[in-house]
Point group: C2
Chain length 165, copies 2
Protein backbone atom coordinates (compact mmCIF):
# COMPACT_ATOMS: atom_id res chain seq x y z
CA UNK A 1 0.00 0.00 0.00
CA UNK A 2 2.75 2.42 0.96
CA UNK A 3 4.66 1.90 -2.27
CA UNK A 4 1.81 2.32 -4.71
CA UNK A 5 2.16 5.12 -7.24
CA UNK A 6 -0.88 7.32 -7.71
CA UNK A 7 -1.74 10.27 -9.86
CA UNK A 8 -1.80 13.11 -7.35
CA UNK A 9 -3.55 16.42 -7.46
CA UNK A 10 -1.49 19.47 -8.43
CA UNK A 11 0.14 21.00 -5.30
CA UNK A 12 -1.22 24.50 -6.07
CA UNK A 13 -4.73 23.12 -6.38
CA UNK A 14 -4.20 21.29 -3.08
CA UNK A 15 -3.08 24.50 -1.37
CA UNK A 16 -6.15 26.33 -2.69
CA UNK A 17 -8.37 23.53 -1.37
CA UNK A 18 -6.73 23.53 2.05
CA UNK A 19 -7.25 27.30 2.43
CA UNK A 20 -10.96 26.56 2.87
CA UNK A 21 -10.34 24.19 5.77
CA UNK A 22 -10.69 26.46 8.82
CA UNK A 23 -8.55 25.60 11.80
CA UNK A 24 -7.90 26.79 15.31
CA UNK A 25 -4.61 28.66 15.69
CA UNK A 26 -2.12 27.21 18.14
CA UNK A 27 1.44 27.91 19.19
CA UNK A 28 3.31 24.62 19.43
CA UNK A 29 6.31 24.95 21.73
CA UNK A 30 9.20 22.89 23.00
CA UNK A 31 12.24 23.37 25.23
CA UNK A 32 15.62 21.92 24.44
CA UNK A 33 19.04 22.56 25.98
CA UNK A 34 17.69 25.56 27.89
CA UNK A 35 16.23 27.24 24.77
CA UNK A 36 12.57 27.85 24.05
CA UNK A 37 11.20 27.08 20.58
CA UNK A 38 7.79 27.75 19.14
CA UNK A 39 5.76 28.04 15.97
CA UNK A 40 2.22 28.89 14.95
CA UNK A 41 0.37 25.81 13.71
CA UNK A 42 -3.12 24.90 12.59
CA UNK A 43 -2.30 21.26 11.78
CA UNK A 44 -3.21 19.96 15.23
CA UNK A 45 -5.93 17.48 16.01
CA UNK A 46 -7.35 15.18 18.65
CA UNK A 47 -6.50 11.49 18.13
CA UNK A 48 -8.08 9.55 20.99
CA UNK A 49 -9.50 10.07 24.46
CA UNK A 50 -8.16 6.72 25.70
CA UNK A 51 -5.30 7.37 26.02
CA UNK A 52 -5.61 11.19 25.79
CA UNK A 53 -3.64 11.95 22.65
CA UNK A 54 -3.25 14.80 20.18
CA UNK A 55 -1.13 15.12 17.06
CA UNK A 56 0.77 17.95 15.44
CA UNK A 57 2.17 18.02 11.88
CA UNK A 58 5.46 19.91 11.76
CA UNK A 59 7.67 20.78 8.79
CA UNK A 60 11.01 19.04 9.14
CA UNK A 61 12.84 22.29 8.33
CA UNK A 62 11.31 24.13 11.30
CA UNK A 63 13.60 24.76 14.29
CA UNK A 64 10.75 23.66 16.52
CA UNK A 65 10.81 20.29 14.74
CA UNK A 66 14.37 19.59 15.89
CA UNK A 67 13.52 20.73 19.42
CA UNK A 68 10.45 18.46 19.67
CA UNK A 69 12.46 15.55 18.34
CA UNK A 70 15.30 16.06 20.82
CA UNK A 71 13.15 16.96 23.82
CA UNK A 72 10.55 14.27 23.11
CA UNK A 73 7.87 16.71 24.22
CA UNK A 74 5.73 19.64 23.06
CA UNK A 75 2.93 21.87 24.26
CA UNK A 76 -0.09 22.89 22.16
CA UNK A 77 -1.20 26.36 23.24
CA UNK A 78 -4.64 27.13 21.78
CA UNK A 79 -4.92 30.87 21.13
CA UNK A 80 -7.87 33.09 22.04
CA UNK A 81 -9.39 35.28 19.34
CA UNK A 82 -7.65 38.39 20.77
CA UNK A 83 -4.20 36.86 20.32
CA UNK A 84 -3.44 37.61 16.64
CA UNK A 85 -0.24 39.35 17.73
CA UNK A 86 1.13 36.11 19.18
CA UNK A 87 0.03 34.15 16.13
CA UNK A 88 1.88 36.57 13.82
CA UNK A 89 5.01 36.70 16.00
CA UNK A 90 5.31 32.91 15.96
CA UNK A 91 4.55 32.66 12.21
CA UNK A 92 7.93 34.09 11.29
CA UNK A 93 7.48 37.83 11.89
CA UNK A 94 9.93 37.47 14.78
CA UNK A 95 12.37 34.74 15.73
CA UNK A 96 14.09 33.37 18.80
CA UNK A 97 13.58 34.34 22.41
CA UNK A 98 12.19 37.84 21.76
CA UNK A 99 8.82 36.38 20.71
CA UNK A 100 8.35 34.86 24.15
CA UNK A 101 8.47 38.32 25.77
CA UNK A 102 5.07 39.30 24.34
CA UNK A 103 3.24 37.21 26.95
CA UNK A 104 3.76 35.26 30.15
CA UNK A 105 4.94 31.65 29.88
CA UNK A 106 5.17 28.90 32.43
CA UNK A 107 5.83 25.16 32.37
CA UNK A 108 4.11 21.99 33.49
CA UNK A 109 5.06 18.29 33.33
CA UNK A 110 7.32 18.24 30.26
CA UNK A 111 9.11 21.59 30.58
CA UNK A 112 7.74 22.86 27.25
CA UNK A 113 6.70 26.54 27.33
CA UNK A 114 3.08 26.92 28.43
CA UNK A 115 1.24 30.14 27.52
CA UNK A 116 -0.43 31.26 30.74
CA UNK A 117 -3.12 33.31 28.97
CA UNK A 118 -4.00 30.73 26.28
CA UNK A 119 -7.52 29.36 25.92
CA UNK A 120 -6.14 25.96 26.86
CA UNK A 121 -2.66 24.41 26.77
CA UNK A 122 -1.99 20.70 26.31
CA UNK A 123 1.39 19.57 27.62
CA UNK A 124 2.41 16.43 25.73
CA UNK A 125 5.07 13.76 25.71
CA UNK A 126 5.90 12.38 22.23
CA UNK A 127 4.85 8.73 22.08
CA UNK A 128 4.99 8.09 18.34
CA UNK A 129 6.20 9.87 15.24
CA UNK A 130 5.45 9.31 11.59
CA UNK A 131 7.57 10.93 8.91
CA UNK A 132 5.76 11.76 5.70
CA UNK A 133 7.18 13.89 2.88
CA UNK A 134 8.24 17.29 4.17
CA UNK A 135 6.55 16.80 7.55
CA UNK A 136 6.59 14.72 10.71
CA UNK A 137 3.41 13.84 12.56
CA UNK A 138 4.15 13.81 16.29
CA UNK A 139 1.64 12.00 18.50
CA UNK A 140 1.65 13.35 22.03
CA UNK A 141 0.26 11.76 25.20
CA UNK A 142 -1.36 14.61 27.12
CA UNK A 143 0.22 14.70 30.57
CA UNK A 144 -1.15 17.96 31.88
CA UNK A 145 -3.64 20.65 30.83
CA UNK A 146 -3.71 24.32 31.71
CA UNK A 147 -7.09 25.99 31.36
CA UNK A 148 -5.97 29.55 30.64
CA UNK A 149 -8.40 32.43 30.18
CA UNK A 150 -12.02 32.23 29.10
CA UNK A 151 -12.68 33.17 25.51
CA UNK A 152 -13.12 31.85 22.03
CA UNK A 153 -10.53 30.26 19.79
CA UNK A 154 -8.69 32.23 17.13
CA UNK A 155 -9.27 30.76 13.67
CA UNK A 156 -7.34 30.78 10.41
CA UNK A 157 -9.18 30.39 7.12
CA UNK A 158 -8.62 31.60 3.54
CA UNK A 159 -5.17 32.87 4.54
CA UNK A 160 -6.53 35.20 7.25
CA UNK A 161 -7.25 35.22 10.95
CA UNK A 162 -10.95 34.94 11.79
CA UNK A 163 -13.29 34.79 14.77
CA UNK A 164 -16.37 32.80 15.62
CA UNK A 165 -19.68 34.60 15.09
CA UNK B 1 9.92 5.95 23.42
CA UNK B 2 6.70 4.11 22.56
CA UNK B 3 6.86 1.93 25.64
CA UNK B 4 7.44 4.63 28.23
CA UNK B 5 4.81 4.92 30.94
CA UNK B 6 3.63 8.42 31.73
CA UNK B 7 1.18 9.95 34.12
CA UNK B 8 -1.63 11.02 31.83
CA UNK B 9 -4.24 13.66 32.26
CA UNK B 10 -7.71 12.53 33.32
CA UNK B 11 -9.85 11.67 30.23
CA UNK B 12 -12.71 13.94 31.33
CA UNK B 13 -10.32 16.87 31.74
CA UNK B 14 -8.92 16.05 28.29
CA UNK B 15 -12.42 16.07 26.76
CA UNK B 16 -13.13 19.44 28.37
CA UNK B 17 -9.88 20.81 26.97
CA UNK B 18 -10.57 19.51 23.47
CA UNK B 19 -14.00 21.15 23.40
CA UNK B 20 -12.19 24.50 23.10
CA UNK B 21 -10.30 23.42 20.01
CA UNK B 22 -12.51 24.64 17.15
CA UNK B 23 -12.52 22.59 14.00
CA UNK B 24 -14.03 22.57 10.56
CA UNK B 25 -16.82 20.04 10.13
CA UNK B 26 -16.34 17.41 7.45
CA UNK B 27 -18.14 14.31 6.26
CA UNK B 28 -15.59 11.57 5.67
CA UNK B 29 -16.94 8.99 3.26
CA UNK B 30 -15.92 5.72 1.67
CA UNK B 31 -17.41 3.14 -0.68
CA UNK B 32 -17.02 -0.58 -0.16
CA UNK B 33 -18.76 -3.53 -1.82
CA UNK B 34 -21.30 -1.21 -3.43
CA UNK B 35 -22.30 0.46 -0.13
CA UNK B 36 -21.73 4.07 0.83
CA UNK B 37 -20.38 4.89 4.30
CA UNK B 38 -19.89 8.24 5.96
CA UNK B 39 -19.39 10.01 9.26
CA UNK B 40 -19.07 13.56 10.51
CA UNK B 41 -15.52 14.30 11.63
CA UNK B 42 -13.53 17.27 12.85
CA UNK B 43 -10.28 15.35 13.36
CA UNK B 44 -8.96 16.07 9.88
CA UNK B 45 -5.80 17.97 9.06
CA UNK B 46 -3.34 18.81 6.34
CA UNK B 47 -0.07 16.86 6.53
CA UNK B 48 2.12 17.99 3.64
CA UNK B 49 1.88 19.75 0.30
CA UNK B 50 4.59 17.56 -1.24
CA UNK B 51 3.08 15.07 -1.66
CA UNK B 52 -0.45 16.50 -1.16
CA UNK B 53 -1.60 14.62 1.93
CA UNK B 54 -4.30 14.92 4.58
CA UNK B 55 -5.07 12.77 7.58
CA UNK B 56 -8.26 11.70 9.31
CA UNK B 57 -8.56 10.12 12.77
CA UNK B 58 -11.34 7.55 12.87
CA UNK B 59 -12.68 5.49 15.77
CA UNK B 60 -12.07 1.81 15.11
CA UNK B 61 -15.67 0.98 16.05
CA UNK B 62 -17.11 3.21 13.32
CA UNK B 63 -18.56 1.45 10.28
CA UNK B 64 -16.78 3.99 8.12
CA UNK B 65 -13.48 2.79 9.65
CA UNK B 66 -13.97 -0.71 8.26
CA UNK B 67 -14.99 0.69 4.87
CA UNK B 68 -11.91 2.96 4.62
CA UNK B 69 -9.68 0.08 5.62
CA UNK B 70 -11.17 -2.29 3.04
CA UNK B 71 -11.52 0.24 0.22
CA UNK B 72 -8.13 1.86 0.88
CA UNK B 73 -9.72 5.22 0.10
CA UNK B 74 -11.79 8.03 1.57
CA UNK B 75 -13.13 11.45 0.69
CA UNK B 76 -13.06 14.48 3.03
CA UNK B 77 -16.09 16.66 2.26
CA UNK B 78 -15.69 20.05 3.95
CA UNK B 79 -19.14 21.40 4.89
CA UNK B 80 -20.40 24.93 4.33
CA UNK B 81 -21.88 26.83 7.26
CA UNK B 82 -25.43 26.22 5.96
CA UNK B 83 -25.01 22.44 6.11
CA UNK B 84 -25.76 21.66 9.77
CA UNK B 85 -28.42 19.22 8.66
CA UNK B 86 -25.85 17.05 6.90
CA UNK B 87 -23.49 17.28 9.86
CA UNK B 88 -26.21 16.08 12.23
CA UNK B 89 -27.41 13.31 9.92
CA UNK B 90 -23.89 11.88 9.65
CA UNK B 91 -23.22 12.26 13.40
CA UNK B 92 -25.55 9.40 14.26
CA UNK B 93 -29.00 10.99 13.94
CA UNK B 94 -29.55 8.78 10.91
CA UNK B 95 -27.77 5.71 9.64
CA UNK B 96 -27.12 3.90 6.38
CA UNK B 97 -28.12 4.91 2.89
CA UNK B 98 -30.98 7.26 3.87
CA UNK B 99 -28.51 9.96 4.99
CA UNK B 100 -27.12 10.19 1.48
CA UNK B 101 -30.55 11.21 0.12
CA UNK B 102 -30.35 14.65 1.78
CA UNK B 103 -27.94 15.96 -0.87
CA UNK B 104 -26.42 15.11 -4.24
CA UNK B 105 -23.33 12.90 -4.28
CA UNK B 106 -20.92 12.04 -7.05
CA UNK B 107 -17.58 10.29 -7.29
CA UNK B 108 -14.07 11.05 -8.54
CA UNK B 109 -10.85 9.02 -8.71
CA UNK B 110 -11.33 6.63 -5.78
CA UNK B 111 -15.07 5.96 -5.97
CA UNK B 112 -15.69 7.39 -2.47
CA UNK B 113 -18.87 9.50 -2.23
CA UNK B 114 -18.19 13.14 -3.09
CA UNK B 115 -20.65 15.78 -1.86
CA UNK B 116 -21.37 17.95 -4.89
CA UNK B 117 -22.42 20.99 -2.82
CA UNK B 118 -19.54 20.85 -0.29
CA UNK B 119 -17.16 23.77 0.15
CA UNK B 120 -14.40 21.51 -1.11
CA UNK B 121 -13.99 17.72 -1.31
CA UNK B 122 -10.65 15.94 -1.18
CA UNK B 123 -10.65 12.49 -2.74
CA UNK B 124 -7.87 10.44 -1.13
CA UNK B 125 -6.12 7.10 -1.44
CA UNK B 126 -4.89 5.66 1.87
CA UNK B 127 -1.10 5.55 1.81
CA UNK B 128 -0.32 4.93 5.47
CA UNK B 129 -2.20 4.10 8.63
CA UNK B 130 -1.24 4.38 12.26
CA UNK B 131 -3.28 2.67 14.95
CA UNK B 132 -3.36 4.39 18.29
CA UNK B 133 -5.64 3.46 21.17
CA UNK B 134 -9.28 3.57 20.07
CA UNK B 135 -8.49 5.29 16.77
CA UNK B 136 -6.70 4.84 13.46
CA UNK B 137 -4.98 7.74 11.72
CA UNK B 138 -5.38 7.31 7.97
CA UNK B 139 -3.02 9.31 5.78
CA UNK B 140 -4.50 9.96 2.36
CA UNK B 141 -2.74 11.05 -0.82
CA UNK B 142 -5.07 13.58 -2.44
CA UNK B 143 -5.82 12.34 -5.95
CA UNK B 144 -8.58 14.73 -6.94
CA UNK B 145 -10.32 17.82 -5.59
CA UNK B 146 -13.83 19.05 -6.18
CA UNK B 147 -14.39 22.74 -5.52
CA UNK B 148 -18.07 22.69 -4.59
CA UNK B 149 -20.05 25.82 -3.80
CA UNK B 150 -18.71 29.15 -2.55
CA UNK B 151 -19.19 29.80 1.14
CA UNK B 152 -17.62 29.56 4.54
CA UNK B 153 -16.79 26.44 6.50
CA UNK B 154 -19.07 25.08 9.18
CA UNK B 155 -17.30 24.94 12.56
CA UNK B 156 -17.73 22.88 15.70
CA UNK B 157 -16.62 24.26 19.05
CA UNK B 158 -17.76 23.83 22.67
CA UNK B 159 -20.05 21.01 21.60
CA UNK B 160 -21.98 23.17 19.13
CA UNK B 161 -22.00 24.15 15.49
CA UNK B 162 -20.66 27.64 14.83
CA UNK B 163 -20.00 30.05 11.97
CA UNK B 164 -17.21 32.45 11.15
CA UNK B 165 -17.89 36.10 12.01
Amino acid sequence: MENAVHRLVDPEEFKTGMRSLAGAVNIVTSMYAGCRYGMTATAVCSVSVAPPTVLVCVNRNAKTHAAIEKAGAFCVNVLRDEQCELSIAFSGAQSGEVRFRIAEWSELATGSPVLVCSLVSLDCRVIKKVTHGTHTIFLGAVEQILFGEKGRPLLYVEGKHAKIA
